[in-house]
Symmetry: C2
Subunit: 339 residues, 2 copies
């Protein structure tokens, strides 16, 4: 059983990396003992009255609440739409819970709500349940939003982090690290030559296109907190496989690379909010890339690696100079309040 070696909650526990993983294992999964939660996928999937439903939740605490390419409102919709999509579900209904700090400008709240509405319309989901709490000034930083979502999993679809198989290809639908760099730049008031925009976007259309093409998709996962590196580590552990990434194939915006060099950050660990790792048989990779590239949020889809038999639960990077290095989960917290 996972143990925690600290007496207090640390920022690391919210990083999405190793410490988050340990906290969830040690406190939540061990206590709320059930297979659905224990599967640790992006959404739980279960039967209700003969239908297969997906159900997920996320809280959003991003700072600043408005950033290039989005805001806490659009992010809260995209994040939950994407978590449902990553199980192959068609997102249908969203709930939202607001925690507001007394004194928040109503104009900011209006802008956030309008942004959620636009995001929900684009994704084709309905916001059907809500709750608003207000805490005395200083008890919460501006606004926190929780969204939960329900989706319908089409018959025959079984997509999970447990399904990666040796011989599979690893694809991604575009450039890595945009969201984290966009939020950080705004927060720290950094001006780079080219402004980086968050990639925050709904991925249900992309996923629907992959499923409609009858591709045998094994795994879908959005590399949010902890980035591509941590997400692939989770999949490698869940599926008991090794994953090999090709450094030269990883798509980055040059502005993101530049910002990361200045800031001393590794973009492989930076959060994305409109990216999707797609794992499926190698023979179907070309067709999948074609399908993805025809979609609005898949134009720059590319092959970045492959799944191997072992050593299990490890992720490797084949470097540009021909070496190979181990890519671990995120340890520590690079970027608090990134989503």
């Amino acid at each position: 059983m996972t143990k925690l070696y600290t007496e207090c909650v640390l920022l690391d526990h919210g990083s999405g990396g190793r410490a988050s993983h340990d906290l969830v294992e040690a406190l939540f999964v061990s206590r709320f003992d059930n297979d659905l939660l224990g599967a640790l996928d992006d959404a739980a999937v279960f039967d209700v009255g003969g239908s297969k439903l997906a159900f997920t939740t996320d809280s959003y605490v991003v700072d600043p609440i408005f950033f290039p390419g989005g805001d806490i409102g659009s992010l809260a919709i995209h994040g939950t739409v994407n978590d449902l999509s990553m199980r192959g579900a068609r997102p249908l209904y969203i709930s939202c819970g607001f925690i507001l700090d007394e004194g928040l400008p109503i104009a900011d709240l209006k802008e956030i709500i309008a942004s959620m509405d636009r995001a929900a319309r684009e994704a084709g989901v309905q916001i059907v349940a809500g709750d608003t709490k207000v805490v005395p000034h200083g008890a919460a930083d501006k606004v926190f939003i929780n969204t939960a979502g329900i989706g319908l999993v089409p018959t025959g679809v079984d997509i999970s982090g447990h399904n990666a198989k040796a011989g599979d290809a690893v694809l991604i639908n575009g450039t890595i690290g945009d969201h984290g760099v966009a939020v950080l730049s705004k927060r720290e008031g950094l001006a780079f030559q080219t402004q980086v925009e968050s990639d925050s976007a709904p991925l249900n259309g992309l996923v629907a296109a992959l499923l409609a093409a009858n591709l045998d998709v094994h795994v879908l996962r959005d590399p949010t907190r902890g980035g591509v590196a941590t997400t692939l580590n989770e999949i490698a552990a869940q599926s008991g496989v090794a994953i090999k990434l090709v450094e030269e194939a990883l798509p980055y915006k040059s502005s993101v690379i530049g910002a990361c060099e200045v800031l001393g950050l590794d973009p492989l660990y930076i959060a994305n909010e409109g990216k999707c790792l797609v794992i499926l048989p190698h023979a179907q990779a070309e067709r999948a890339l074609e399908v993805m590239r025809a979609e609005r949020y898949g134009r720059e889809a590319t092959l970045i690696g492959e799944v191997a038999a072992g050593p299990a639960a490890k992720v490797y990077l084949q470097t540009k100079i021909g070496g190979s290095r181990l890519v671990d989960m995120l340890t520590g917290e690079q970027l608090p309040r990134i989503c």
Copy 2:
């Protein structure tokens, strides 16, 4: 259309009373324009694959996080179980989203999680999806929890705040105001002769018993923020009816009355977390009371009023001295962070 006459979010906007109502109408319902949200019931009800599902969410920001009779964890489960139950749904699955302040003692978090687990087991629901965010110390006060829940509405059940009819009886399953007084006493360090405990409890068993008895239940509603007075005002408005309460029939613990007198609070506006208003034809009231009294959380069930034809959307109290006074929604905020 409702207008807001303030430029900032006020504590009142989270009271559950008039200002909350106006905020929700002006910002949320007008923007997220759909019938399910617009119905403003405790949970949205919709069809998925031939099943009628209920879906709800609530965030919990109660201060203090541990109080007599419960804590933020048990409250977060009971609240969502009850919101589903108030639509006649059988609660099935719960998600939980934690926002933790850096530095929160792990021991506190463990205790909260254990309490959620016990509450979920008692209510027969599974916690299947979760999320944990950590914010830098001071950005959130200790811990906030969001729960969302999914329930299954049995065929033929149609319970909503819109269904109250003239001639109906208004019942409640026990004493009024316990939760609010318990939380406030702990927060303010007040010692009364008798400690008041929160009534926080899951009401799905009580509701299932009412439905199993084939009673024609029109409305169920848990009088949380804003208390019995505000909740009945909401129902009166939704159903276009008047509701008459009999002051002498309202059940209070003497300790709650005492505390309210000292504090200058009206218990009719104080939050309850294990109470349920039941509205059904008067001819079925006696039978419903029998059924409720046989349940663990209904022993002190009693008749407190009746539904009349008009004037619509008003609530009246027939006072002990024989008069009648209007009971409005809560205006202002009596007790911030009560749930």
